[in-house]
């Protein structure tokens, strides 16, 4: 029995030569450069707004995300400015990243009964899934629009009540849509 011999076609110089590929890539780069320049010059003189260039000059320019963007958390407040959160811990239960830590305590007002004395989110562990927002029965936690949150050390990434509910950007706090008093009066 003769052994079948397969002739393998070896790569030739034209196949292994990388220059054509690089040149082809550079062509694309130069095309974008020229197009962007054509597009950029009128915007510098103020004739028209730039449209084609896909990148932005961060941080001078900022990208605008949709209003449904799930960014850093916000704890909502009641009309009187106190926290809406009832410390039921459903967000902590639902959190897949295990980044929410709540310490509950007894409120002096029996109609409030339970409230958080500490609410901490370890934002570096957070995966921004929004499950906390979904689990919340009283609209106490929302995912806000912020996404640039630098910090210089680890402790700055653990957000406490002061940051989550009353940071300056929130201008005194976001009021929850669910009001406890109205609910009580409605007999719920």
């Amino acid at each position: 029995m003769a052994i079948a011999i397969e002739k393998v076609k070896r790569a030739e110089a034209t196949d292994t030569w990388y220059m054509p590929g690089i040149l082809w890539g550079l062509l694309l780069t130069f095309k974008s450069l020229v197009l962007n320049l054509i597009d950029y010059i009128p915007s510098v003189v103020g004739v028209k707004k730039r449209q084609i260039m896909p990148t932005v000059n961060y941080p001078e320019e900022k990208y605008e995300y949709s209003p449904r963007f799930k960014g850093n958390h916000v704890l909502t407040v009641k009309k009187d400015g106190s926290l809406r959160c009832t410390a039921c811990m459903l967000c902590a239960t639902n959190c897949p990243a295990d980044c929410i830590k709540i310490t509950a305590s007894e409120h002096e007002d029996p109609s409030v009964e339970k409230f958080p004395i500490a609410y901490e989110i370890d934002i570096l562990r957070c995966v921004f899934c929004g499950f906390c927002e979904e689990a919340c029965p009283v609209d106490a936690i929302r995912m806000g629009p912020e996404w640039q949150t630098p910090g210089v050390n680890g402790s700055e990434f653990i957000y406490d009540i002061k940051h989550l509910a009353y940071r300056p950007q929130l201008k005194g706090g976001i009021v929850s849509v669910l009001d406890e008093k109205e609910r009580h009066e409605a007999g719920i």
């Binding site: 009832t86 410390a87 811990m89 509950a104 305590s105 029996p110 009964e113 339970k114 029965p137 719920i188």
Partner: protein, 551 residues
């Protein structure tokens, strides 16, 4: 998990008849088409529990009288045109019962709707959520949309019934379990139902708060979140907690309990049914015994103080050093034991002192001899040690009978130079702690084995060594209660990673003394101090502690 110990030392089979005596006459009835043999005179609901079938109910509790107020345990009995309540109907031979027909299901469903008419549904802030009868039974038997169009009746919230129990009247469904408990079990009659109709509320009488030593049982048997524990309130959601069965070490009754814990420590204790020990209940004092186990109260590292210098070291290192000093030390060494440790540990350390150290100077530190025999008539005993009886049996079997006076005299004359103290686990139960520390610290070298921190011990100068030992949830072992019942428990969790049990301590000390000795547990070598006929029936499983339980 807790192991059952019977006279043969084997795990007891799941006894389906509970405390039923073997002579009881049995009758055969049919439940949901299944033939079941039950004890004559038992009720239909008991027959359901004995046969492992589900039945809805709130007010019935196996440890209380029958009230028949919740009307949820409806069953259809063949030949009877109307539905009957299972809790208050006695079985008759040949009876055909079912709770699976559409008629029964409908009755239960709308019965539930009535219960929930004025219930606030504030589950998110209710401590009972996760172990609530309303939640469970709604999911099992309800799942309707409420047809209630009226406003809910507002009642009192956050009412202090007593030092330990908080009432929320809105959540209450008036099953009257708590009222019956104070009337029948604690016999203190603090609770009552006041007003009528949908304004009815649970309450106490003026100047008579719910302050008996069994008040927290009302929280356990409350099927909803109306009664909550002041101590546990808002500290954890129950679904974050794991649980395990063990024995309470608050007194010599040895109630079977469940401890609830997570990685932060223990949070609460609840009784587990055992007809031979505690029935369904436990006392409030016992429920606080988890507190001395948690890390904040514990000694974390071994500490050696000598010539004014204090040094921390791992417990294992200190144990090995101790072994080197104690081996062959002879009669100038002494051992002081308290009733907080397990039988296996006593056997190990006593035989170590007898054989390896070579001394019979072993003494029993009794914390409150004058109240030792007192008993409140229900569960709580004056002997606030879990294992005094086990200790005495071990000492007797090893032929040791030292009196405390001998020890004090020995220290005074200088005949005893080294004292090893297996100190109390729950220091709150040892009012003479200060006195004894002062007395024992006169010795040349004091070694104190303790699970908890103690300011007086820390303040000692002299030649002192403190060694952290495991608490009762961190080790396996058995405890002998006041009646001679030996109960075996398994390890639940680790609180202090560096702590050692007395058995482990002995093993560590032995290894130094004789490096060639095969590592062994002393307990397995020695003859058990408690003879077989003294081992009564320990924990048993029965119909009420099956997986679903009774709230």
């Amino acid at each position: 998990m807790l192991k059952s110990v019977t006279s043969s030392g084997v795990a007891a089979p799941q006894a389906t008849t509970g405390a039923t005596s073997p002579q009881a006459k049995m009758v055969t009835i049919s439940i949901n088409g299944k033939e079941v043999e039950v004890k004559e005179g038992s009720t239909i609901i008991e027959a359901y529990y004995q046969s492992g079938l589900d039945i809805a109910h709130y007010c019935w509790h196996p440890g209380l009288s029958i009230a028949g107020v919740c009307r949820l345990c409806m069953v259809e009995i063949e030949g009877n045109p109307r539905l009957q309540i299972a809790c208050n109907t006695t079985v008759v031979a040949g009876m055909k019962v079912n709770n699976s027909s559409a008629k029964v299901k409908d009755a239960v469903k709308w019965g539930l709707d009535f219960h929930l008419i004025n219930h606030p549904l504030d589950c998110p802030i209710c401590d009972q959520a996760g172990e609530c009868g309303l939640q469970d039974q709604y999911m099992k038997y309800g799942q309707y949309d409420s047809e209630m169009g009226e406003q809910k009746v507002k009642k009192h919230k956050v009412v202090d019934l007593g030092p330990r129990v908080v009432l929320d009247s809105e959540r209450c469904i008036l099953c009257s379990r708590c009222v019956r408990f104070t009337d029948e079990v604690s016999k203190t009659h603090e609770l009552g139902i006041f007003n009528r109709g949908d304004r009815a509320e649970i309450g106490t009488f003026e100047g008579k708060p719910l302050a008996n030593n069994y008040s927290l049982n009302t929280v356990d048997i409350c099927p909803v979140g109306a009664l909550t524990s002041r101590d546990f309130r808002f500290r954890q959601r129950v679904w974050f907690l794991k649980n395990a069965e063990t024995v309470c070490t608050g007194c010599s009754t040895g109630c079977n309990v469940k401890v609830y814990f997570n990685k932060e420590g223990l949070f609460r204790m609840k009784p587990v049914y055992n007809p031979n020990v505690n029935g369904h209940w436990m006392c409030d004092v016992g429920r606080d015994t988890y507190k001395f186990v948690n890390k904040e109260a514990r000694l974390l590292e071994a500490k050696v103080v000598s010539s004014g210098k204090s040094q921390e070291m791992p417990a294992m290192e200190l144990a090995k050093k101790l072994g080197a000093t104690l081996r062959g030390h002879g009669t100038s060494a002494a051992l002081v034991l308290t009733g907080s440790y397990s039988v296996e540990e006593y056997e190990a350390i006593v035989s170590y002192f007898k054989t390896d150290v070579g001394t019979k100077n072993i003494y029993h530190w009794i914390n409150n001899p004058e109240t030792f025999d007192s008993f409140d008539g229900l569960l709580f005993r004056g002997d606030k040690n879990p294992n005094t009886r086990g200790l005495l049996e071990v000492l007797k079997a090893q032929g040791i009978s030292g009196s405390w006076k001998e020890l004090v005299d020995g220290i005074g004359t200088g005949a005893i130079k080294t004292v090893v103290v297996a100190g109390p686990e729950n220091q709150a139960n040892f009012p003479d702690m200060k006195v004894k520390i002062a007395e024992l610290s006169k010795v040349a070298k004091l070694v104190w084995l303790t699970s908890g921190k103690n300011a007086e011990l820390d303040a000692l100068t002299g030649d002192v060594a403190l060694l952290p030992v495991k608490s009762y949830v961190e080790k396996a072992g058995s405890f002998v209660n006041h009646a001679g019942l030996r109960q075996q428990v398994d390890r639940v969790m680790t609180v202090v990673p560096g702590a050692v049990s007395l058995t482990e301590l002995v093993d560590l000390m032995k290894e130094v003394g004789d490096a060639m000795t095969v590592k062994s547990t002393a307990a397995t070598e020695t003859v058990p101090a408690i003879s077989a006929n003294q081992i009564g029936q320990g924990r048993i499983n029965n119909e009420f502690t099956l997986s679903r339980g009774v709230w």
